[in-house]
């Protein structure tokens, strides 16, 4: 992939970020003329964390999605379909409502632990180089289990408002987060993406087959462990702050691989950029859509992403069919 393509993607992300900060323009413009201090406050305290979270979460989902697809050798693997986000949500809910630890740090740790558990369980259930059906069924089972346990945890929570309280967060939301909260997602996600980047040559070599990659000299067992841990950290930290947002981790790598000639590892960086642009755009759409109220962003990505997933499944069935 050429440097020009990467630059174009970076430009796209910068544009989406700038639009996310600036739109809707009329209110900002009006405020800046009336009260510049308040306007600056609005930009820094409200819009900046939101845009940063969209950027971070999208990039983490894209990069981790690409890495997970590479280790499972399957384009349908992604953090949400494999139960990773559900596991992270379960971890965060247990931490917040049963252990009653509400600090962002505790939530992040709980979330990352839940995500690690879910991804580890998936690897144990479906094995490496999973068949699509095994992978999806195991992921479905883990998602269902984590979802049920999340509901159970909320039902057992001492707080009577737990359900109502957790609802919006579980749907995935970037609204009303502080800059400090954004940092709690940004730092682990950035570390995870940078460390995943170091695995690019090993993940690319997996396209030759696991045995070839090992003969070349890559310790694939260790690579797999890295990807599981880093995905849990990157996605888990974002889920702790913003709840579960689906499908970006599935869609972004598919587009990214078109730019890398289907090299699975090299797709990590473009997938991060595409994921960031997608989530910034989705957030912009839910904020500016003339519906009279703001939709949870998780709903928007699911409404747009689920048809894409269906297309991917039928496309693969057609391709793999007799």
């Amino acid at each position: 992939m050429s440097a020009r393509t990467i630059l174009a993607l970076v430009g796209l992300v910068v544009l989406a970020f700038a639009l996310s900060m600036a739109l809707p323009w009329s209110s900002i413009d009006y405020l800046f003329r009336r009260d510049p201090v308040l306007a600056r406050g609005l930009l820094v305290e409200l819009r900046l964390p939101r845009a940063l979270l969209a950027l971070t979460y999208g990039a983490a989902l894209g990069a981790c999605g690409a890495a997970v697809q590479a280790i499972f050798a399957n384009p349908l693997a992604s953090p949400d379909l494999t139960g990773t986000t559900s596991g992270a949500a379960l971890g965060a809910v247990v931490t917040a409502y049963l252990l009653e630890l509400a600090s962002p740090f505790a939530l992040s740790l709980g979330s990352i632990a839940g995500a690690t558990g879910a991804l580890g369980l998936l690897l144990a259930l479906s094995g490496p180089r999973a068949e699509t059906s095994t992978l999806l069924l195991a992921g479905l089972a883990i998602s269902a289990l984590a979802g049920a346990l999340t509901t159970l945890a909320l039902a057992l929570a001492p707080s009577p408002f737990a359900f109502y309280d957790a609802y919006e967060w579980l749907m995935g939301s970037l609204v009303d987060r502080s800059l400090a909260q954004a940092a709690f997602a940004l730092v682990p996600a950035a570390v995870a993406i940078l460390l995943l980047w170091r695995q690019v040559p090993a993940l690319d070599s997996l396209a030759l087959g696991e045995q070839s990659a090992e003969a070349i000299g890559y310790d694939i067992g260790r690579v797999r462990l890295w990807v599981v841990v880093l995905t849990a950290i990157g996605v888990g930290a974002c889920v702790a702050i913003c709840g579960a947002i689906g499908f970006v981790g599935l869609v972004a790598p598919v587009f990214a691989r078109r730019l890398t000639g289907n090299r699975p590892g090299s797709a990590i960086l473009p997938a991060a950029l595409i994921g960031a642009a997608l989530l910034l755009a989705a957030d912009l759409a839910v904020r500016t859509a003339p519906l009279g109220r703001t939709l949870p962003i998780g709903v928007a990505t699911a409404v747009l992403g689920a048809p894409f997933f269906l297309w991917l499944v039928t496309h693969m069935r057609w391709k793999l069919g007799p």
Partner: protein, 241 residues
């Protein structure tokens, strides 16, 4: 002449009993044995693919933990599977994880894959994919080639062309080759030495003519190697080891 490759105590639990062998530069060694006799496992152990154990030295250097670029200059491995997961173009597949500066234009020419380079791997036939993957194994110009069934899936012409090329690599370019071959006749005809495996261990290691004369092939396979023809000898199957 000291051997290029020395391997000691190669083993994989349940698949390969502890085995040792030496390979010399300039020698094409055929690896034969019935299904499940441990040919693939021996190649895996030499290539250091987990969960194998043992020590492999190539040109005096221990291959375990070596940087991929350096390692591929010493040896490469062709797996038995010709499946590809991602629909890469043949050109992109060959350049995956290739050591810096590896020039594979001549390899592509010898395997006549020029016309396949810009096509996607999943749209090639199994035989065409085989040639591309063999080219990938040859591309780093390694000193040792470990090839698992390279002539499987190839048409008769390409089987001969490839065996000829492999022998040329051994004799003219002084490489060591260990090649698992299912076709006993081809193995006996093209190899400088044969390693015979059965029941997860090396049973014999000798020149093809000596091995044929020993009668061990007949014992292990239950077939008779007579001139250019292989005749099944079903009667001896019961007394096979």
């Amino acid at each position: 002449m000291s051997p290029l490759v020395t391997a000691q105590d190669l083993a994989i639990a349940g698949r390969l009993e502890p085995s040792s062998l030496e390979l010399r530069a300039g020698e094409l060694v055929g690896l034969v044995g019935p299904n499940g006799s441990g040919k693939t496992s021996l190649l895996h152990a030499l290539a250091g693919i987990p969960p194998s154990t043992g020590n492999v030295r190539i040109a005096g250097q221990i291959t375990k933990g070596m940087h991929p670029d350096h390692r591929q200059r010493l040896f490469t491995f062709l797996p038995a599977s010709r499946d590809v997961v991602w629909p890469l173009k043949a050109r992109d597949l060959i350049s995956l994880a290739l050591p810096r500066g590896a020039d594979w234009a001549k390899v592509a020419e010898r395997l006549d894959i020029g016309a396949l380079l810009d096509r996607r791997m999943d749209r090639l036939s199994t035989g065409e994919r085989s040639r591309v993957m063999i080219a990938r194994a040859l591309a780093p110009d390694p000193r040792l080639l470990l090839l698992d069934e390279p002539i499987a899936n190839l048409d008769p012409l390409w089987q001969l062309l490839l065996l000829d090329e492999l022998r040329r690599l051994a004799h003219d370019e002084d490489k060591a080759l260990l090649v698992a071959i299912h076709d006993l006749r081809a193995a006996a005809e093209w190899s400088d030495r044969l390693i015979l495996m059965s029941e997860r261990q090396i049973r014999a290691d000798a020149a093809p003519s000596a091995l044929v004369a020993s009668g061990l092939i007949e014992k292990v396979f239950g077939v008779e190697l007579a001139g250019a023809d292989l005749r099944l000898r079903l009667a001896d199957r019961q007394s096979s080891p």
